[in-house]
Structures are given as structure tokens and as C-alpha cells.
């Protein structure tokens, strides 16, 4: 199934002019994104090894900030850790925000055990399998404030670090939906589908490094070969793998056209709101790869932005 050609084929048969993929040119240039493993770091220079094995040297801007389980000084970042770097400047070689070892745990709770440190087993969807994570005692309070039901059947979404083979949840990514994962409320009755859907855009680390793309929840089950697809809290129209969506970050005004590369089986089950800038409409409408999320001006450690999406 060659989904990459679907967009061109659909355009040819319907006489559409598809927009080119990537950031939509605006008043301000879109930030660049570089990912890789940290090879060397000093107060002014960051050296990464990217997925192709090439060395990428970045100047650390004086105003640059870093995240490594919390705010950190760029010069203190550990060697060998995975980094996602937002770059600024004409040539994309100035690092102005660095996230290190950041990951996100989104899924349905299967099992919770432990008394001080909690171990949580998550079902992250049919394509992503199961993950076992740890919530250290110091983080249980702040996570349980937003996720009071750490019980099997409920949804969970937290941001944390990859650790060394021990994924650790540190911050809640949103507030817990009050219903079970298999009792998602029906979308409101809609009589016409607007050209732009509004809601919350989130990110996931279930994409390849450097991949630009999105997981969209409203796919036909037969097309996505996923019997859990199509469940959404928001009234989203059907699209397909290979379609493209134009995503606008309503907090920064940046837009990009990103291809749909995966099924957001779990994304649509979250009927929450993003409060990054004002309160978004209810429901997650798209799940972006980290690179696309950052290119659109999103802050990975916050987890979401208010978004509008339309067919790209």
C-alpha cells in the first residue's frame, strides 16, 4: 500500500492543486528542528550525531534554554542523550531550545502497582503496543492531581524522560478524562463540516526521528487496518493515511502542511482541552511528530497547543 501517492492521485482525479508539504511561509521564518544524540556540549556549542551518522554542530544562543526532566542549563546536558533542538536563524544552526531524553506516555492504563514509586502498564494502541513506565514518588503527587484515577481502563498521558531503559513519567500532559477509554462520549451533532476544525494538537514520540507527519484519529477502519480507528470526541471528517492536513498553531500563528502517516487511535479518545493560549475546543484533533510539533512553535514539555486543521 503506497499511501504517499494517494495525495497526488486524488489531486489528479479531482483537479485539486495540493499545497506543498512543510511550513507555510509566513511573516516570520519557521523554526528549524534538529534531532540527534549529544556527542559534545559546551556553554556555546552543541554537537549532535543525527540519524544518518552525520555530525551536526550548533551554536547555543545566549538566551537558549534546555529541558531534561525539568529546566536545565544547556552546558550540563549529558553526553549520549537524545536531543530535539529548535533552531533559529537563517541557516538553522543556532540552538534556542533543547529538549533532552523527552518522551511522552499516552495510553490506556492496564495495571498499576507499587506503593511509593508506581509502575504503570499502558496499552498505547494497536500500533504502539504496551509500555511499562515508572512514576517516581516525587512525581506521584503532581501526576495524581491531574490523573486522580490511576486505575485500569482509564486514560493516561504524561511527559517524562526515557531514562536508561527505565522510562519515567514526571509531569501530567493534560487532565484525565473522567470516563473510561472505551466509553468516549459521542461527538456533538454537526450539520455541516467547517473547512477548519478546531481543538487541541498534541505530540507523540511514536514517530521516526526527524519524521514530519501526523497521526489522525478519524480514519476508516478498513483503510487504516485498525479496528480501533474512527473513535473521536470531536466531530472530525474522515481522512486517510496519505492525506495531508494544514495545521495552524493558534497560539503562534504558524502553519504547516503535514502528511497523515499514522492512525491516532488513542488521540481521538481524549476529550480534553488545551489551555496553552486560552481554552481550546474540546477534543484532540491531531497528534504530531515531535519535529512537526516544534516546527509549528509547540513546546514539547507543555504537550499541546490550540490548533485549527483543514485539508492540506
Amino acid at each position: 500500500m503506497n499511501v504517499e501517492r494517494r495525495r497526488a492521485r486524488a489531486a489528479a482525479v479531482l483537479g485539486r492543486q495540493p499545497a506543498s508539504l512543510g511550513p507555510v511561509p509566513g511573516e516570520r521564518p519557521a523554526p528549524g528542528v534538529v534531532t540527534g544524540e549529544i556527542r559534545d556540549v559546551s556553554p556555546h556549542l552543541l554537537v549532535l550525531e543525527n540519524a544518518d551518522g552525520d555530525e551536526v554542530r550548533l551554536v547555543i544562543a545566549p538566551w537558549a534554554t534546555a529541558w531534561h526532566g525539568g529546566d536545565a542549563a544547556p552546558a550540563d546536558l549529558p553526553l549520549g542523550a537524545r536531543a530535539i533542538v529548535r533552531t533559529a536563524g537563517e541557516y538553522g544552526r543556532v540552538a534556542d531550545r533543547i529538549w533532552v531524553d523527552i518522551t511522552r506516555f499516552t495510553g490506556k492504563i492496564l495495571r498499576v502497582h507499587g506503593t511509593r514509586d508506581l509502575t504503570v502498564e499502558l496499552d498505547c494502541g494497536p500500533h504502539r503496543g504496551r509500555r511499562t513506565i515508572t512514576i517516581p514518588y516525587r512525581a506521584t503527587g503532581r501526576i495524581q492531581v491531574r490523573y486522580p484515577r490511576l486505575e485500569p481502563g482509564y486514560l493516561f498521558d504524561a511527559i517524562g524522560t526515557l531514562g536508561k531503559g527505565n522510562p519515567t513519567a514526571l509531569f501530567p500532559a493534560a487532565s484525565q478524562p473522567p470516563y473510561r477509554a472505551d466509553a468516549v462520549p459521542a461527538p456533538p451533532l454537526t450539520y455541516a463540516v467547517p473547512s477548519v476544525q478546531v481543538g487541541s494538537a498534541v505530540w507523540s514520540d511514536a514517530f521516526d526521528e526527524d519524521e514530519r507527519g501526523a497521526a489522525y484519529p478519524r480514519l476508516e477502519r478498513s483503510d487504516a487496518e485498525c479496528d480501533q480507528a474512527g473513535v473521536t470526541c470531536a466531530a472530525l471528517p474522515y481522512l486517510a493515511l496519505g492525506s495531508a492536513v494544514r495545521v495552524e498553531n493558534q497560539c503562534t500563528g504558524r502553519s504547516a502542511v503535514v502528511p497523515i502517516v499514522a492512525c491516532g487511535c488513542l488521540t481521538g479518545r481524549f476529550c480534553d482541552r488545551c489551555v496553552e493560549c486560552g481554552t481550546s475546543e474540546r477534543g484532540r484533533i491531531v497528534e504530531l511528530s515531535p519535529a512537526s510539533f516544534v516546527e509549528l512553535g509547540g513546546e514539547l514539555s507543555k504537550g499541546c497547543f490550540n490548533a485549527g486543521i483543514g485539508l492540506g
Binding site: 500500500m1 503506497n2 499511501v3 501517492r5 494517494r6 495525495r7 497526488a8 492521485r9 486524488a10 489531486a11 489528479a12 482525479v13 479531482l14 483537479g15 485539486r16 481502563g153 478524562p177 473522567p178 470516563y179 473510561r180 472505551d182 466509553a183 462520549p185 461527538p187 451533532l189 454537526t190 450539520y191 455541516a192 463540516v193 473547512s195 476508516e220 478498513s222 483503510d223 474512527g230 466531530a235 472530525l236 471528517p237 474522515y238 481522512l239 486517510a240 493515511l241 496519505g242 492525506s243 476529550c271 485539508l311
Partner: protein, 277 residues
Amino acid sequence: MTTTIALASLPVIVPVLVLGAVLKLAAVRRGAEPEGLGGLGPTVLLPERLRRPAIVLCALVELAYAVALPLWDHPLPRWGAVVFFTLATYVLVDLKRRRPEAGCGCFGEVSRKPVGLRSIGRAMALGLMTLAVALSPVTAADLVAGLSWTMLGWTVAAAALVLLLSPEIDEMVARMRYRAPCELREAPVEDALSRLTASAEWRERRPLLVSTTPVDTWRELCWRFFVYEGRTADGDAVDVVFAVHLDGGRHAPVRSALVAADGTSLESLPESIPVSA
């Protein structure tokens, strides 16, 4: 007069109680959360551990009254039902004041709309009906004995009053009349395929197809696309792409194009049409 009202009310109160109990139990069984998006009524005012038992208890009490009222000529269920609906009225007023966003939960998940004057009015009306039944103890046997067109008229009027005061009816009517836009409707692939094979576009392109089994199919908004391997008259490999509109039944528009491997159309484009149409 009280006896007439009591006889007319009994066939209204009993189904309301049964329906309320069944829908509450169904909501609990389905795992709906009392505070989830509209709530299941006054239980949102209770501590979390008591919410589910409270809904079940309320449903069981309703079922008990629904059985006892038509069968047992005793003051206990009759005045008990009066107390039940009086309490319900008070609780709904309190709920409206303290949690204005919560639904009344009277009929489980169907009653998601925030409590309003209609819900409160319905509880009051049912309270007055049960008062009539308490003052003039009638049973199902009396109902059968006193069956007449006049009685039927009174019963219809009582039922109409309850329906008029039920905000759930608006939602049900809206859902029954609702037809989702085609972008939101599920559309089986087989239906689109049968529309395609019945179309003139298919008959025209059929000689070009190498196989009648599509190599790819997907759905985007109101369109279902099918791709077939084909060969032009010159023998060049080409993709034959069909787009079937999912709205419009047997006469739904069907478009087609011959597309090269690089995605460009090998013929003049069809008339441009809105992508969301």
C-alpha cells in the same frame, strides 16, 4: 376528580419510573461516569465512592415503586412515591444552584442537558400525580375496570404534560431527524464499489484495466478513491484512478483519471470541483 387524576396518572408514572430505572442501570453498566460531561444527576454532589451505589439505589427504589404502585393498595408505596418525587424536586433545585452544568440524570445518560425549569417542573408534576394516587388509592385493577375514552383522554393529557416537560425529547427528536454530513458518515467500501461498477465512467475505462481488483482504495471527506492497474492504447503502464462521491445514492458523481507513476494526470483535468463537496 382526584380519582380521575389518579387513574390517569398511574399509567404515566409507572413507565416513567421503569424507564428511569432501566436507563440508570444501563448507564452504570456501561461504565459512564457520574461527573463525565453532563453527569448523571445529583450523584455529582456525593463523594466519589458513593456515586455508583447511589445511582443503583435510586434505580432500585424506582423499580420498587413501579411494581408496588399498580399492584399494592397500601399507603407505604404511595406516600413513599410522593416523598421520592418531592425529594427529587428539591434535589434538582439544589443541583441547579450548586452544579448548573450537571444534567439531571433522570434517564441516565440521555439526561445530559443541564437541569432547567422543565426538569424541575416534570419532577413537580410527577409529585402531584403521585399525590393524587396517594389520596385516592387506585390500582391496575381499578384502571382496567374504569377504562373509558374519557379516561384515555386524561391519560394522554398527563403523558403529554410529562413529555412537554422532558428536555430529553428535544435531544431525541434532534437525533432522530439528524443526518450527519457525508464527511462524518461511515460509508462501506462495498457500496462505493458497486456505485463505481454501475457507472458510465467505469464502462468507459474498463478496457484499459489490467485487473478489476483495485490495488489501493481510501476515503477522504466525501470521496472514496479506487486505483487500478491499467495500460494505455500504446501499452504504457498507467494508474486508473476513480473517485466515487459518497452522497447521492446510485446517481453519485464518479470521476476518473489516468495517472502516471509520478502522480501527474495523463489527460486534461476534469472540471474542478470543491474538495469538500
